[in-house]
Amino acid sequence: MGNIPACPRCNNTDTRLVSESPISGVWRMYGCSHCTFLWRDTETLEGVRTMTEEEIKGAVLDFPPPSPGGSIGGK
């Protein structure tokens, strides 16, 4: 399977293989379990902006769950 690279957006190494191309060996789709970014190994990713921890934590919650007990997952 080979090594799975760190996330190109947040640089976290908690990354995984999400899917391979239906015709085997053409591309792989990777995912970051920290910032939830998905990318294909054939992409140049020229327009992807790097993210900071503050930005991840500061994501807008504009439709909050109704009860304070509701889980607000970060992943």
Partner: protein
Amino acid sequence: MPYKDFRAWIGKLEEEGELLRVKDHVRLEPDVGASAQASILTDGPGLFFENLPGYPPSHTLTIALMGSLRRLALSLDLPRSTSRGDLVQEMARRFDEPLIKPVRLSSAPLKEEKHFGNDVNLFEFPLHRLNMGDGGPYLTKTHIITKDPETGWTNVAMYRMQVKDRAKTNVWFTQGQHGGIIYRKWESLGKPMPMAVAFGVDPALTWMAVSKTQPGVDEYDMAGTLRGEPFEVVPAETVDLNVPASAEVVLEGYVPPGIREFEGPFGEYPGSYSHYHRIMVFEIKAITHRKNPIFDAIHIGKVPNENSVIFSVNRPVADTKYMRQRFPEVMAVVPYPGSAMEVIQGNFRRHGDARRVMLGWFMGPHTDNVKHCIVVDEDIDPYDPAQVLWALSYRFQADRDLVIIPNFSSVGFDPSEERSGLVTLCGFDATKPKPPHPRYEMIGWVEPWKETEVWKKRIAKNWERRN
């Protein structure tokens, strides 16, 4: 004749020279997004990709099918030369017809292939990063089907969905939109909301998914009204919902209560990337699709985009109807494509009536997405920016005719918002002074000689002869 299914619609586009089949090998990134943007910018054709990397020839992709006024006309079974104004009038006329209930079939080609549980994989379809800064692949041309747990009202709407895994996405609901209202009810009950998402459908349903309708009115009924025949549905496999029989692909699953996960950014309809958000998630339990499924996408990103082309027709339909019901003097409500601005044309009798209408507009449902309105008189063509700008120049004084309402709730995509979800509404009263305005008697407006029309014809005739 309405379209039987998505393939009949594709066939019509091909017959009318409005579809380009791309047989060359293309890359999913950046070619899908780049070609769709190019098509919209050049008023070009819809695109059908037949040779995608990593996919067998049986799995294809379409985009920008509703990216021109010509194709919007064809989607309503009208001549491709139909003007924007005529499209708006025809759609408004159809929406005033009685509702037509859907017909429920027991089977459909949609059920030719079924995947459940661990066999579910969204990457079976040619997903792609549409804009270079998007947080991942998105499902864009979604027809999201949900049902009110109290009344049974079925809503169909188009919201963005970021793909997170083989069987999981985010789904964008806002509190004021119908999908959000229904989800809030399920969440208050502490129950997961059943949801289905259709791709590749009769365009009548796409019109309903992007249009503002009255809450409580089933959008399958409205789709029937728009196409003039009942819309056909079939039962979903794993959730208590009816799904479009004409669809190429349907996802089925649940939106659990109390869960919000990181999402974004995404190149949204204003032509800017939206903020990072924490929003709802959709867990997919089943996928059904036709053999050789055609996956359909929409172009959203730098303006003009496919979204702005569609809104240039369906917005005036909904907004004119809404305003005329409340203010009979309103003649038309016309958005400027790709902008957050609308022009309200009216036959106002008293000074101040325009202001009253403006305040009514501020309270309308459209202010989720638009924030500026210019009110003009009956002698200004709202479709002609030159005439509207003239009225804004010579029938408007900023200290007197500008109305500003700050801190108004919005959908949250406007990049100029100081705080996400709050906009400032602004109204320009560019109407003539009328009684009892003190300057009413002083001001005269130059009207053309009545012989001008005769002269238009004489000049055209002589000019044509000379050339």
